[in-house]
């Protein structure tokens, strides 16, 4: 039925309409305030410029937001992702090793364990941490925000245990590729983000997983009574979310060439939640939009970059950020839009129906 699809489509687009508008607005502001905002140069075999930098940096939050979108779709939340970023980076850095070995003037590349072991190990640790969250939420029925709060707090400790309370500096250059390298002139992290995004879109939309996630988020009991294995699905969404945070941890530690148990991934959980919400997925669970979450991550990074580049004093930049986030959230609210954009009368009708 072609006419039916036509009816559904504009609605979906509408959902991303306001976040897109905000992004556009931010870009326009930058045109006036930021020098060379649109300039992309070819330098040292790679594209470089502010836009490229924004996209590159938005992958940290973007990849986490993908996993978090699934968790939020089930009606849950994961606030431990920032700590998992730190742990994953710490594990990778520890296994690769932090020694600078010189032979004459030449640096010799040494690792404690091969990188091919270190990376899967870091990701495996992240996955196990996610499974821990999943067990707390599904088996012991602890409220998600409390369950993941445990790891959020203890995770920082774990990360510092791994790094022995120090910042591990990585000297092993091949590892730098993940967060700094380029392929065909474009940052490798972007490929990674797109790969994860494509994978998750295929898994959720080409199998019934997406439907089940939404169904669980809207009505958990009804989903169980319909034969959906809700516990298993919720469990794996937490595991996958932490896995994504693990990938982000690799990107971050590789980019800054070090692992800082205390500060790596600091406040990432809030940015990731914001990205998901800005992207139009409700914290109540249910319908989710992966594309929206990525868009949200890009908006947040654009905002951060804008704040730095137009020279807002660092003391107030969180205020600016929260004002913009507030505006986006308001634009997402149907009641708010009805009230201020379409006149008062409609607001009541809509609110009532």
């Amino acid at each position: 039925m072609p006419d039916m699809k036509l009816k559904v489509r504009p609605l979906n687009q509408f959902k991303l309409f306001w976040p897109l508008m905000v992004l556009l607005l931010l870009v326009i502001i930058n045109v006036f305030l930021t020098k060379d905002f649109f300039v992309i140069e070819w330098k040292d075999g790679r594209f470089s410029g502010i836009l490229v930098d924004i996209l590159n940096r938005s992958t940290y939050i973007g990849i986490i937001a993908i996993g978090l979108t699934l968790v939020i779709a089930t009606g849950g939340i994961d606030i431990s992702v920032g700590s998992v970023v730190a742990i994953s980076g710490a594990v990778a850095a520890y296994l690769i090793g932090g020694e600078l070995v010189l032979q004459g003037d030449q640096q010799i590349l040494v690792t404690r364990t091969p990188m091919a072991v270190a990376i899967p190990a870091a990701l495996a640790v992240a996955l196990v941490l996610g499974m821990w969250n999943g067990v707390l939420v599904t088996r012991w029925k602890i409220q998600p925000i409390v369950a993941t709060l445990i790891l959020m707090v203890s995770g920082r400790g774990i990360a510092q245990l791994v790094t022995n309370g120090q910042i591990i500096t990585i000297y092993y250059t091949p590892y730098f590729f993940i967060g700094n390298g380029t392929f065909l002139g474009i940052p490798f992290s972007l490929y990674l983000l797109l790969a994860v995004l494509a994978l998750v879109i295929v898994i959720t939309r080409k199998t019934a997983l997406g439907l089940f996630l939404e169904s669980i988020g809207v009505n958990r009991t009804a989903s169980r009574y319909s034969g959906i294995q809700e516990r298993r699905i919720v469990f794996w969404s937490y595991a996958f979310c932490a896995f994504c945070a693990g990938v982000s941890g690799l990107l971050v530690s590789s980019n800054v060439k070090s692992a800082d148990g205390n500060n790596a991934g600091d406040l990432f959980e809030l940015d990731a939640i914001l990205a998901v919400v800005i992207g139009g997925t409700s914290l109540n669970g249910g319908k989710f939009s992966l594309g929206g979450s990525i868009l949200g991550a890009i908006i947040i990074q654009t905002l951060t970059t804008t704040i730095y580049s137009i020279g807002v004093p660092p003391q107030v930049n969180l205020v600016i950020k929260s004002i913009v986030v507030f505006l986006v959230s308001m634009l997402q609210s149907e009641n708010f839009r009805a009230l201020f954009l379409f006149g008062r009368k409609n607001a009541f009708a809509r609110g009532a129906v």
Binding site: M4, A208, R224, G227, I228, A352
Partner: protein
Amino acid sequence: MEDQTMLSMKDISKYFPGVRALSGVNFSLRSGEIHALMGQNGAGKSTLIKILTGVYKPDTGTIVLKGKPVQVESPEHAQALGIATVYQEVNLCPNLSVAENLLLGREPRKVWGISWKTMLSEAKKNIKEKLDLDIDPARPLGSYSLAIQQMVAIARSLCVRSDILILDEPTSSLDEAEVERLFLILRKLKQEGLAILFVTHFLDQVYAVSDRITVLRNGEFVGTTVASELSKINLISQMVGKDPAELVANVVNREKRSSGTEQEILNIHGLGKTGYLKPFDLSLHRGEIVGLAGLLGSGRTETAKLLFAAERATEGTVYKDQREVHLASPRDAIMEGMGFCPEDRKTEGLVGDLSVRENIILALQAKQGILRYLSRKDQEEIAQNFIKVLDIKTPNAERPVKTLSGGNQQKVLLARWLATKPSILILDEPTRGIDVGAKAEILQRIQQLRNEGISIVFISSELEEVVATSDRIVVFRDKKKVAEAEGSDIEEPTIMRLIAQEDA
């Protein structure tokens, strides 16, 4: 009684985008009368009530209250005008005490804050006087049955000085004794001069208490009649918009079959859960309807949930087709060919925000597993098919299911299970809160499914319905199976006796 018009609503119309909810409806209410508002789901009863209580504003029409034209701005305003409302769903706070619920916002005060002692005694007095109930006002409201909660909601609305009391299906969760008690109260309030607007789906109740009946159909005003002058069959025909003769032919009429000879599909042996339901035996045959009868809270729903493994049994064995099966979750039950329409459609059945299509294919998809995703085309085909076969009224299959009326929601649930081609269907109150027309349709559908060879466990609080529908009836009392009736024993008086009988 003098003929004093308390409220008159004239030429009320209300339009929603794409829908005409009400057009040119007239309605009047006298003091000291009980006025029933009748109509099928979607007839506009709720819309009319919401206009009266200030939730919606009418697009046209006037409201005159005690001789003065008024505009009801909001539910709070309605209350200030003396219009008290009790909704179908109890909207009180189950975690607060009965007394707190009753007096919320009007707590008796002393110098430093609330006087809890006065509050308790006042609440107790209120409940005793107004409802003749003896309950402990200090206990949380949620610890009482839905029926008691409903009564407390009524008591609460009566604590405020009101001229008009609106009851939107107050009896849908009450058992007969409780309904009787409620009616006693209504009659007393009527004597005191209150104007009562009463919405219900139970026809007997309408005749038991109402003085006048107003019927709406498809948002239009059909008429207001004195109750004693309107026969039941005429009332139904007004509501449905069909000729009375046509309706009589539809009354369920079939011969009862003895079920013993048929092939046994399910055999339950000593299934029970400690503190939930005492162990019971039950056998179910192919193409048979077993009705579960009993009062509210007698163990009917509990039985259904244990059968479907929605609650995990602590003892007992289940044989499906002579083979022992272990049902640890609803999923296991579904894999064995079972389906379950829960009593509480909204919280346990429907996935409100998802579309009609998604709701219909949900169980089938779950049965098939995550990987074998039904193509969009298949999904649409299945949904369209059931929309047609079950006559589900929806603009299209992509509508969120929560926007449908009660009867159509129930059909969507039924469609969800029929799509899985079940051999056993457990239907807990499939006709609750839906209108006469849809009810008859669903009951007929149940018969048809039985004739197609599906075994059905049927639960309803309306004994009449259970008796008319079932081939065999199992009676529950106090979380325990107490009797089984078949053949000529399936009669209302017999079953009633079985339900009421005290243990010797």
